[in-house]
């Protein structure tokens, strides 16, 4: 029963990926212009464009390129980007371009998750446990307020105060690419802080909501009537039954941290994957766009899958069928 549920989830995940790849193909194929026209930009002439296109091998029909790409993808090859090669014949393997960016993204996301998840769970549970009290209300309102502030405002404000005026931390992450140890931590501090603010508020709200949801069920009343202290009721009796939605929202936020943090990466000049995709779109580097998009979507699907798994495992009915 458990196995069947898991297998089913995996299957749907794979199907979704295929749909995604098609959507990506359709999506990228509607983009006007191509990498050649972007490279030459204002200085493009029909002839020079034609010339560059042929050297870049852009003169095959789109669907052909798509299937070639899909084929390569299945054989684990993300393809070649024309990055840096100019009119030359060379090109950069996309895997090479993505690897360092992916690493950066994972670092950042990891750092944020490490701080945000425990923090938000704590606050969320506190709010739920003391529902209706001043503590609860202040937490709820603060999170609401933060939810409603545009990310880039949070980021810029932080930079101004911490980096520009106080000069405690660098304003941008990772400029020289040679940072290590404390320097690295310092470089990561501000972007991490920003994203913690952004990600936490949602998890907090969700935790509170779903725990409160459970708090109204008879077995919680039973626990109360057994004279259990509040901490124990919330942590031991309510939380295990609220895991589902919470892990779900955590997963969604992690997915966002992987793929949605363009703004933060831009403001802190942080060479992450999201910014790479934006650049790739703007330079019509289609193989690169497709590769990034696939990574993002898979990340989402995998994370959601893990969340599902967690909530399945948290449910004894599925773990121990009668």
């Amino acid at each position: 029963m458990l196995i069947r549920a898991v297998l089913h989830r995996i299957a749907t995940g794979l199907v979704t990926l295929v749909v995604v790849s098609v959507l990506i193909f359709l999506g990228t194929s509607v983009l006007p212009g191509d990498v050649a026209s972007i490279i030459l930009g204002q200085m493009a002439t029909p002839e020079s464009l034609a010339a560059l296109r042929s050297t870049l091998g852009l003169d095959q029909p789109a669907y052909l390129r798509y299937f070639m790409w899909l084929g390569d993808l299945l054989s684990g090859d993300l393809g070649i980007s024309k990055a840096g090669s100019g009119a030359g014949t060379g090109g950069t393997p996309i895997s090479e371009m993505i690897a360092p960016r992916l690493a950066n993204t994972v670092h950042l996301a990891g750092a944020v998750a490490l701080i945000a998840v425990p923090l938000s769970l704590g606050l969320g549970l506190a709010a739920a446990a003391r529902a209706g009290t001043r503590l609860d209300r202040s937490i709820t309102l603060t999170t609401l307020g933060l939810v409603s502030v545009p990310e880039f405002l949070v980021a810029t404000a932080l930079v101004l105060v911490v980096a520009v005026y106080l000069g405690w931390l660098p304003a941008t992450a990772y400029v020289s690419g040679t940072e290590t140890g404390t320097a690295l931590l310092k470089a990561l501090a501000l972007p991490t802080l920003t994203l913690v603010v952004v990600a936490s508020s949602q998890i907090i709200r969700m935790t509170r909501a779903s725990v409160l949801n459970v708090m109204s069920s008879p077995y919680i009343e039973m626990a109360v009537l057994k004279g259990l202290p509040r901490r124990r009721i919330v942590l031991r009796h309510a939380l295990p039954n609220a895991v589902g939605p919470i892990v779900n929202v955590i997963a969604l936020n992690l997915a966002y941290l992987v793929s949605g943090v363009v703004i933060v990466e831009t403001i802190f000049a942080y060479p992450g994957l999201a910014k790479l995709m934006v650049d790739a779109v703007q330079t019509r580097d289609l193989p690169l766009v497709q590769a990034c998009a696939m990574i993002f979507c898979s990340a989402y699907i995998v994370l959601v899958f893990i969340a599902d798994l967690a909530s399945i495992l948290s449910n004894p009915r599925l773990r121990y069928p009668r």
């Binding site: 008879p218 077995y219 009343e221 057994k226 259990l228 009796h237 039954n241 004894p316 121990y320």
Partner: protein, 608 residues
Amino acid sequence: MAALLEIEKLVVNATGGADYPAPVIQGVSLQLEAGEVLALIGESGSGKTTLALSALGYAKPGLEFRAGEVRLNGDDILAMAPDEKRSLRGQRVAYLAQSAAAAFNPALRIGAQVTEASVLHGQLSQAEADRRAADLYRALGLPDPDHLGRRYPHQVSGGQLQRLMAAMALCTRPDLLVLDEPTTALDVTTQIEVLKAFKDVIRQEGAAALYVTHDLSVVAQIADRIAVLYAGEIKEYGSVDEILHRPKHRYTRQLIDAVRPPPDTALGPLEAKDAEQDVPALEVTNLTAGYGRKQASGQLLKVLRDVHIRVERGHTLGVIGESGCGKSTLARVISGLLPAMQGEVRLKDEPLEPSLRQRERRQLQEIQFVFQMADNALNPHQRVDQLLGRPLEFYFGLSGDAKKQRIAELLHMVELPPEFSGRYPEELSGGQKQRINLARALAASPEILLCDEVISALDTIIGASIIRLLKRLRQQTGVAFVFISHDLSAVASFADDIAVLYAGQVVEQGPARRVLAPPYHPYTRLLIASVPELDSSWLERTLALRETRASIDQAVEITDRGCPFYRRCPVAIAGTCDRETPPSHTLDQGYTIVCHRSEAELRRGSFS
């Protein structure tokens, strides 16, 4: 000595004040001596649960204590600080909720939940607590006491859970138990054992108990004294004996009248008509139905196997059986909601398509379905007049005044004032909803009403009144009923013919007075024996019977070989009943028993 529990002039209000016309509890006082069992009896909304919970110093969300005192061994509970209350709850006063299924935390192991309180209150070490729990399991007659604790709630049966909750409550050796309708949700056969278990354990633990229920005959078995609660006030208060035999207050009398007399040969069905020999209103022949995909025979779960039933015009067929025996499925198949796998359903001799999609509107109109839970069966977002109006438009194209008038008639038929047509379901009480539910079915002026457990969710009195209503409707409209219930006495009091369903098979079928008189099918006998009586000695008596003892809380299992009742049957013939499909004895016109035992053996009555 001072009473264990003293409640004095207790007043409980709704916090939202204005929402309630009156306090939920208005100035109630009562006393409870150590070791005695006091039953709080009253209909839903009478405030009995609220009153009981005050013994734990707990008011449900939305309620608050306004005035009065609740003293346990002299100290005032309501005045206690939160910590004091906490150490009181679960330790000195323990609570058993109505539905164990809901009250057990699905995510935690049973053992942990049973021992939790005593360990947390520092009474016992975990090890000691586990041992104590095991003892309680044993005392409560639970299977495999030493490993039961490692299981999760969903892994044990409802009856067992209910007893496990008793263990959970008793684990801390409380002075006072508060039991909130602990057996209402159970099948009759299960109810006996649970009652028995409670009774014994309460006795040997010497705990006092507040027993909340609406069922007098249950009270009769377990209580020493009874407090009759109505509209937040105690109407009558006295020993079981006084209340049962010399009720003073009108409402108490109502309660007693509402208890349907136990069916036995003495009482036949109320209006027994002889089956006219013309075409039956409804006939179901060798019907087999189930869930799951047809082709994948492996997964296929047969819920009904080879069922024949016959409903004469204007007659009532009672279908009785424990939960899970497939009686609701039968109704769904007849209505066409669940297409049958084999067999056919004939309406006035014309065969019906298995699935309702292919049935004609007229056929649909002639068979109406009254669902078990009025709350779920009535769309909360439709007003009564919409609910009743739709079938009128749909089948008869009524509209405007004609429709209004008909709606008024229907409301009258179900004894509700016409102004109800403007209300939403959530503004109605359970009984009123059930009446609307009926009225909607009647709106189609059907030939046949399928009533699925229409009273099982209702208080005794209200249930009784619904039955009365049904009888009247049967006379007025001449509609035929398929009346499905797990409550034998309800069926007995209403049905002309009875079909006893066990594990998806009809084991006995015939005119009510024949079915309810010897010879009995062993299962029918068990059912009859299990119906509680208004007599304190009933529990002991009935438990003395061999067949009830023999079949203590065995899970119903659906077998393809032999007799499904084999494992519970006190007169089972090893080697036969478990191998061969039992033969069907036709004792006379339309009366059959399916059993390996001969009619003579069966007729020999009680096997004890």
